[in-house]
């Protein structure tokens, strides 16, 4: 190793700091799941998971200093995934059944009678 290279301790520093942040976020997610937040528990847990993935991808997968092309490919995967979710839910969340308007059809419609119609 030449003198111009960083000392070995430097290669531990950033991953360790990110690891501490990830563990803290993981514990926060676990702890918050036991709080009586009603419908907010799952969105909060998913938001924390999203933040953890962002930290992992930026600093451990090193997207923060990657070439633009690599970042573009990473973002593209997520963008196509969001299209898949948006298009699917634009169908499921807008289905209305005959006896309970606004609710998904599978709740209120006799499946046997309507088999093949949706």
């Amino acid at each position: 190793m030449t003198n111009s290279q960083p000392r070995p301790v430097h290669i531990w520093l950033r991953p360790t700091v990110v690891w501490v942040a990830l563990i803290v976020l993981g514990l926060a997610s676990l702890g918050s799941a036991y709080l009586p937040l009603s419908a907010s528990n799952t969105p909060l847990n998913l938001a924390i998971a999203g933040l953890m993935v962002l930290l992992l991808w930026l600093f451990l997968m090193d997207l923060v200093s990657s070439e633009v092309l690599v970042r573009l490919i990473a973002v593209a995967g997520v963008v196509w995934l969001s299209f898949m979710f948006a298009l699917t839910f634009s169908d499921y969340l807008t289905r209305a059944c005959e006896d309970r308007p606004g609710r998904p059809a599978v709740f209120g419609v006799d499946q046997k009678a309507h088999r093949g119609t949706f």
Partner: protein, 210 residues
């Protein structure tokens, strides 16, 4: 001939460009994996939106201790993998091999905990079928997704452990230059497997805990 010189392959003019090539290739693969796992997450989201009560009842039965321990194990393994990549760039062969071995051990520990968790689940008969203990019947959708998602994830992890193990052995025997950018591909795959678990954790283990 130095390690740097032997690590450089045709048609790349220098190691930085070669690393970029490896990154582009593995990220294209990861993007396809995002959509593969995304389809499973989408199935989960649709069924959970249709049967929220059944998913609440079913989700309360997962083993949160094993899920949390495995989260810590995989997050730690991502750190050792990152250090291995950085050490590789600096030509620190011993650090690279030790960190890859640690990564592999942490992955194996994950599978061990997963096995213990699966045996606890099977003991409670939480496998979709005629003797499934939970009601309403839609609780089986949650557990069907649980087995498929965690099973596919475990297969990915097992493949990762094998690849990391072979790579560590190759580097230890000096069959590959320590600065070879191939380690980037291995590391990115490993981090992606960790990513999947980060998302699975709240979906499977933190349902109805309050």
């Amino acid at each position: 001939m130095s390690d740097t010189a032997t690590a450089l392959r045709e048609p790349w003019p220098d190691l930085d460009r070669q690393r970029e090539g490896v990154s582009v290739g593995i990220w294209l693969f990861i993007a396809s994996e995002v959509l593969f796992f995304g389809a499973l997450f989408l199935g989960y989201a649709v069924y959970r939106s249709l049967y929220p009560e059944a998913f609440r009842i079913a989700g309360a039965e997962t083993e949160v201790f094993y899920g949390s321990m495995n989260l810590v194990l995989l997050l730690t393994s991502s750190v050792t993998m990152t250090i291995a990549v950085d050490a590789s760039r600096r030509g620190m062969r011993r650090t690279v091999v030790v960190c890859l071995a640690l990564t592999m051990l942490l992955g194996a520990a994950f599978l061990l905990f997963k096995g213990l968790e699966y045996s606890a689940d099977i003991a409670k008969a939480l496998f979709p079928g005629a003797h499934f203990p939970l009601r309403p019947p839609q609780t089986q959708l949650f557990w069907g997704l649980y087995w498929v998602m965690t099973g596919v994830h475990a297969i990915h992890l097992a493949i990762g452990i094998g690849v990391v193990g072979v790579f560590a052995l190759i580097l230890r025997r000096r069959l590959l230059p320590i600065e070879s950018p191939a380690i980037l591909g291995v590391a990115t795959y490993w981090h992606f497997v960790d990513t999947v678990w980060i998302i699975l954790f709240p979906l499977l283990y933190l349902v109805d805990r309050s």
